[in-house]
Each structure stands twice: as structure tokens, then as C-alpha cells.
Subunit: 224 residues, 2 copies
């Protein structure tokens, strides 16, 4: 990995996961690496940000390893917030989903790596090495699927921001009227977006769109 001219210092790591057992497993693996020190843990995004705010600026971690799906503030929002405040801190995303849309969201939010929780144990260490060296790392299964599906074939990528807003509302079980109110637009506008969504996503029937939206959201926000 990287060669320091300064005296050798282990890379500082902050672990963020709401599952105690996962944190334990990571801590155990990382403790075996002399080049790494776990300096803190948190069980959700807000706790992680609070931890970082309390931390001395010269003792911030070099790497944040976070779960993607947590109660409260999830890994994507955390990566986003961290990337704006401390872009120098590497972010490695942990996930149980091989859903490529999550991967893209994570990378857009500033994550440099994406590792699946059921991946072989040494993949985690390889990923840490890579992101600390400034490289990008994907779990083998993710990389394979990216090659298979193509880097931008997912229909969600074709959606405009506003269409995502509407899809989000649909996935939360809201009626058009409620979505319109929450976005401050007319019901007709929501209907237009909805029609466009169905065309873009190739969905027929009204229930189908709700199903699709719930499945897209259901994984990280409502799941647990």
C-alpha cells in the first residue's frame, strides 16, 4: 500500500454498522492487521457524524467503513455528508445487497469501495488496502455483475431527479394528491411524471409501479 515519508502510523479506522456482530467480526479481522487501528465505532450515520464532530481534527480517521442499510441515517447519506466535510477520509461501503443501483448511489455519494457482507473475508482487507491507496474497489460479484449488465444499463439511471422524487413518494405508499402536496406541485404534474416513469421503466398497470417503487426503496430505508 502507500509508503509514508513520515514515521509509520497505522491507518485509523471508524466502523459504522448497526449490527453488533458485524462490528465484532470486522474489529477482529482488523485487529490482526498491524497497519490498521480501529479508533471508533458507531451504530448509525448520525452517531458517526457526532463521533467525528467530537474528534480532534488532527486525529480524524483515515477510513470510514460503513454499512449501507441502517436504521435512521444510512450509509449513503453518511458518505455524502462525510464527503462534503472531509473529502480526504476514504469511505468503504459494506452491504448485503448486490443491487447495482445501490453501488452507483454509494459511488455517487463519494464512497471509494463497495464490499458485500457475504464476500470472502480477505476481500475486506483487499478493499481496505485499495481505498486507502486511493483506488476504487468492488466485491468480485459486484464487478462481475457490472460487466454483465453494463455500467449504466439500469433504468433508474435514466430517471430525472424529479422523477425520483415521485418514485420515492409512490414507494412510500402515498397517493398522487399526497405526493403533489409534499412536493408543492399540482396533481397533474405528478400524473405526468408518473406516466413518464411507467414508460421509462416499462411498467404496465398502476399496482406494478407501486411494487417497483417499494422494492427500490424497501431495501435500505424500510428494511432492517
Amino acid at each position: 500500500m502507500s509508503s509514508y515519508s513520515e514515521p509509520y502510523r497505522p491507518a485509523r479506522v471508524l466502523l459504522v454498522d448497526d449490527h453488533t456482530l458485524v462490528r465484532d467480526g470486522m474489529r477482529m479481522h482488523l485487529a490482526l492487521q498491524p497497519s490498521l487501528t480501529v479508533v471508533g465505532e458507531a451504530d448509525d450515520g448520525e452517531a458517526a457524524l457526532a463521533w467525528l464532530a467530537r474528534r480532534q481534527p488532527d486525529a480524524l480517521p483515515d477510513l470510514l467503513i460503513t454499512d449501507i442499510g441502517m436504521r435512521g441515517m444510512g450509509g449513503i447519506a453518511l458518505a455524502d455528508a462525510l464527503h462534503q466535510r472531509h473529502p480526504e477520509i476514504a469511505v468503504l461501503m459494506l452491504s448485503m445487497h448486490d443491487n447495482l443501483e445501490y453501488v452507483r448511489q454509494a459511488m455517487r455519494a463519494g464512497a471509494r469501495g463497495y464490499v458485500l457482507k457475504d464476500a470472502p473475508a480477505d476481500e475486506l482487507l483487499a478493499a481496505i488496502d485499495a481505498v486507502l491507496a486511493g483506488r476504487v474497489f468492488y466485491s468480485a460479484r459486484i464487478a462481475r455483475r457490472m460487466i454483465e449488465e453494463g455500467p449504466a444499463s439500469h433504468p433508474l439511471d435514466a430517471l430525472t431527479p424529479r422523477e425520483r422524487d415521485i418514485l420515492n413518494g409512490i414507494g412510500r405508499g402515498l397517493a398522487n394528491k399526497e405526493i403533489a402536496a409534499s412536493l408543492g406541485v399540482s396533481v397533474r404534474t405528478v400524473e405526468t411524471h408518473r406516466l413518464n416513469l411507467k414508460r421509462k421503466l416499462g411498467i404496465e398497470g398502476r399496482a406494478g409501479l407501486v411494487k417497483y417503487a417499494v422494492e427500490q426503496l424497501g431495501g435500505d430505508a424500510a428494511g432492517g
Copy 2:
């Protein structure tokens, strides 16, 4: 089967989870307990059953700790299969969901304990002690919710078989007309069931019912 006049022997444990990190975390905790020995691991239900089939009958584990949600054969099916073949082996279910319906299914399948993955670490050990002693253990949050909601108050339990059929169709994104066709009844009948479903489940709005149905069906693969 085993009489405890024989010399002291640590309890044998089989770990089943598709997440390497979770297995690592568990193994680490259990290694600190002299009264326990991890004798095997598997990453899904079928692998666990295959492992058990290869095992000498006099060296079977005393306890199986399994994740509830795994690719392929999940924890509930595994508990069910194991409970029929080896009812003497205690089963402790691990889950990220505090959904009481999962808890009930697990217990019906023969599990003796249900621990959440984000529970404090000592809860796992307490749960192991309990189920090895023949007692039943629930994570604190599960126990609290059971008290709050009542032991059998889950609305899904109140549904009739036909209502489940309709809910299933809704969750697959079908329209009333399609559900009616697939069940061989009239649209009006489906509408009646649908109205009853919303009353029983306390749901308002049409999208809300679809959302609920999708979450009930798709919940096995979801999670953080």
C-alpha cells in the same frame, strides 16, 4: 439423550450465516466461552443440512445458530427441517428484523430463541445459555414489542386464506381484474376481499395496500 453424569464437555455449536463478517463476530465471541466449541460453519440452510448429514451421529452439535434471511434455504426452513430430524438440537435464530411475524414463524419452526443482530453482544451469550438449558429467549426489543402488540395480535394472523391469496396477488403487482382471473372469481369478490384487507390491516389508500403487500412478500431478501 445425553446424561450429564459423564465428564464435562463443552457444548458443540454449528454456525450458519451467509455473511462472513457475522460468522467471524460470533466465532470470536464464542471462542471466549470455555463452555462452547464451534464445530462447524455453513453459509446457507442446505449447506448446514449437508454438514449435519456428514457428521457422525454421536458428534452432532448441541446448538445451531442460524441467520433467518439467507440466499437459498433460509433459517426458518432450516429450523423446520432440523427440528423434524433432530429435535434435540437447540436452534437459536439470528435476525436483523424485529418483525414479529418472523419471530412467530421461527418459533413455529422449532427455534428456541430469537436474537437481533444489532442487539448488545452479551445478549447472544445470554440467549445461548438459555436455549441450551431448554429455555426460550427473545431479544429485549422483541420481548418489548411482544408485550406492546400482544402475543398474537399481528394483523396477518387474522387474515383468512382467501384474503392471503388476494394480498399475494396485490404484492405481485397485479390489478384486481388479473387477481380475479387468476383465482377464478369475479372482480367484485376481489374488491370485497380488498376492502376487508384494508379494514383488518388498518390501511388507508390504495397505494398503501400495495406497499404493505410487497413488503410482506419481498421482505425475505430485503434488509440492511
